[in-house]
Symmetry: C2
Subunit: 467 residues, 2 copies
């Protein structure tokens, strides 16, 4: 990213970097479509009323005003003002309700779009960035199997990015019902508060969270310690998870007959199903992690965060969960489950830490040289013939000295320079076209109607910088 | 577009419509890249200072404010506030100046992105829409040949959309210098005013424009008539254009030795070059049209508008021109030439007038049936095998009755339903997988490791609704 970027938090890629981002987007789209997800795009703005409704990010929205309204913004109530969406889940739920009559349910959609968050400028925080989401939304009900299938689609999508330098990704799953049931079983009531503090574990550590649970959530020392024990619980499979959870409940006096335990057990069963199914299909790709809380978001069941091997400090690069109450219309409910990749941060990591780099900045495989401005038409014709055969081609900007034309190709990373045939001096014969690979130095006679670039030079590719 | 769309001017496509838009975007990108244009994406926001600088659309910007600033918006001067970009040319010029050290010039870029205009809600006017732009920007200078090459790239791009119902497109070209020189030769001084009124010709007619030229631009009857005669001038080629222009000058007493004539002649030469070159390469694709004015935009030389055969009322669907003064940095200038397709309006026309329609809403070619929830794992495995072979596949949401599963596929437009082999009752043998084309009714035994869909059903395609 350019250091000169003049507005903090609004990243902008240089052309070579954009090649990587574009390839990441194309790759994700391909995986999503292979899995039967339907692409949509929602408008960038939503009414204040729906932006301010849910989720912790709603306090970071950007509101819009027309130039003509400057100074009179306050005449319009916040609910009626327009704002930029801060994620793609709130717009999806609005879209589903608005167009429900014209959608097929369960509605599986992918969506890759910019979102905006009006945060204070802060190192490493983007205020404009791209998210890549998949969700499945049901009409009235939504089968549980999607709660394991969706994280697995994301696992496959992230695997497809490993060629571009992405480390192995692991989805960490938890379930809100499990946490809530356990906290209620302990006698705690400020469930949102506890989730909010537990969410800080990776950032501030166990001691500090324990202190906050006591100070702000009305927990005593025992309750606080029990919450941390739950967060720390791990297991190799569903059966072990159930066993250890039950032991924990017994230790803290949560009765099996209690409503709280029943709630926790609902969550436990779903979580066990997820990790066992995932282990069967992709061992090690989805694990139980009972400290995943997802702060104040709109999730009601499964929650997911995804971490990259060796890049723990990056935080979760793909998060989501199940939401049963986000969208409704009268008595109709539209429960959903989905995950969202923070694509801009991921691309930033791939570029600046993993060293992903484009083989060339120009999509052109060939630059056709121009001997003389009077011959430009001939060069254009050669380029056009190549293009009609699917070979991207550019033409030299001016009939400069050949060295300068080759340098132009070289700076753009264009691997081939095409030399149109020149009339031989005595006029008795025409020369033939030649094409030079300026990377290898090979030069050969060529006919634009049949010549093909070597596979390795035909298209832009993404590689990794030598260490 | 959904009739329920609740915010006027912010269009949103249904999933089947989005398939068409996505295909249009993919097609334009392919043509742009074949021609060596480099894709970039700029941030959606710019500083007020650069948005308010140029062009008639700058009065329609949307300004942003963070939720925390509501009520205190006026504390920040307009120049320092952030606003959404209203086109992709102003951001390009800022991008070029900001990153000039890291770009290769001439810089050929394509960019397909949303833009926003805070207009009053009005029938058929979008306040959020997608533009598809190509531009070439030079460092210091920019060869004139790009002024014919860029409209020709757009002609090819629009031709590639004819399969999806787009009528033949013709680029109408003019030149600001030609107009300005002529008006000055007549003794007129309010050049911007005259251009603004001439721009209204198609909308309000010659009589009304004549009246406005007199009333608001200080023209007398003769001058006003001369302006309309220029707007009406047409020619089959450059030589004829020059001849008729000279006759017009002579009739209105514009001396060949005057500075005004010299300026007009500069423009005339460029325009003649454009129409002669274009006629040689694509006859009928680019014509001279001396009433093209492009209002108060930032163009300094060539200007273009593009009209569709039989869709005159749609107005120009692809406009642009040459701008020599948009971007500069100290003594450095970055002249450019570019054109912009109003993609959302174009897609709206293709969908609602031309009848473009997607063969199916789901990208999946196959829906794998599920006999029993206990067998879901087997169905998932079949789908995954197909996907690994590049065949998009979905799995039935529930183990409902087969008729219901087939109906789900049918409503999504998925052409094939896959029936996994079932254990035969006596356990002595396994059945075999079968696949049914639910469009033709054909059903055959199939192996997911080798089966291929018929080409015609393999991918989403765009067709035209029967008249």
């Amino acid at each position: 990213m350019s250091k000169g970027a003049s507005i903090s938090g609004f990243p902008e890629w240089l052309p070579t970097e954009r090649v990587v981002e574009q390839r990441v987007i194309d790759t994700l789209r391909r995986v999503f479509e292979l899995n039967g997800f339907i692409g949509i795009e929602t408008r960038a703005v939503e009414a204040g009323a729906s932006l301010l409704k849910k989720g912790e990010t709603s306090k970071e929205i950007y509101l819009l005003s027309r130039l003509q309204e400057v100074g009179h913004e306050s005449d319009t109530p916040l609910d009626e003002r327009l704002g930029l969406h801060f994620d793609l889940t709130v717009p999806l739920s609005r879209y589903v309700v608005e167009h429900s009559g014209q959608l097929v349910f369960p509605f599986k959609r992918w969506q890759i779009q910019k979102v905006w968050r009006g945060e204070r400028p802060q190192e490493g925080r983007f205020r404009e960035f791209v998210q890549a989401d998949i969700d499945v939304v049901g009409n009235g009900e939504l089968p549980e199997h999607y709660e394991v299938e969706l994280p697995l689609v994301m696992v496959r999508a992230l695997e497809a990015l490993r060629d571009f330098g992405l480390p192995k990704a692991t989805v960490h799953a938890n379930n809100r019902r499990l946490s809530e049931g356990f906290y209620r079983g302990l006698g705690l009531e400020d469930i949102e508060g506890v989730l909010r503090e537990i969410d800080k574990l990776d950032k501030i550590g166990a001691d500090e969270v324990a202190r906050l649970l006591v100070e702000t959530c009305g927990a005593n020392e025992d309750q606080s310690r029990a919450c941390l024990e739950l967060a720390d619980l791990s297991a190799a499979n569903g059966a072990e998870l159930a066993e250890r959870f039950d032991a924990l409940c017994a230790r803290h006096g949560i009765a099996r007959e209690s409503e709280a335990y029943a709630l926790a057990h609902q969550g436990l069963e779903t979580l066990s199903m997820i990790i066992d199914e995932a282990a069967r299909i992709r061992p090690g790709s989805v694990i139980a992690d009972l400290k995943i809380a997802r702060g104040l978001d709109y999730y009601t069941g499964s929650v997911y965060e995804t971490f990259l091997e060796g890049a723990q400090s990056l935080g979760s690069i793909c998060s989501g969960g199940r939401y049963d109450d986000l969208a409704s219309q009268g008595s109709k409910r539209y429960p959903g489950v989905g995950l969202s990749i923070g694509l801009s941060r991921l691309v930033s990591y791939m570029l600046h830490t993993a060293g992903a780099t484009a083989s060339r900045v120009s999509p052109a495989a060939v630059l056709v040289a121009v001997w003389d401005e009077a011959d430009r038409e001939g060069s254009n014709r050669i380029a056009e013939t190549l293009r009609q055969r699917g070979i991207a081609a550019d033409v030299a900007p001016t009939a400069a000295k050949l060295g300068k034309q080759i340098r132009y190709a070289s700076r753009l990373g264009v691997p081939y320079v095409w030399f149109p045939a020149q009339a031989v001096d005595d006029g008795s014969a025409q020369g033939v076209d030649e094409v030079k690979n300026i990377v290898t130095g090979d030069q050969e006679a060529a006919d634009c109607k049949s010549w093909e670039p070597d596979t390795v030079y035909a298209r832009q590719t993404i590689g990794l910088k030598a260490e």
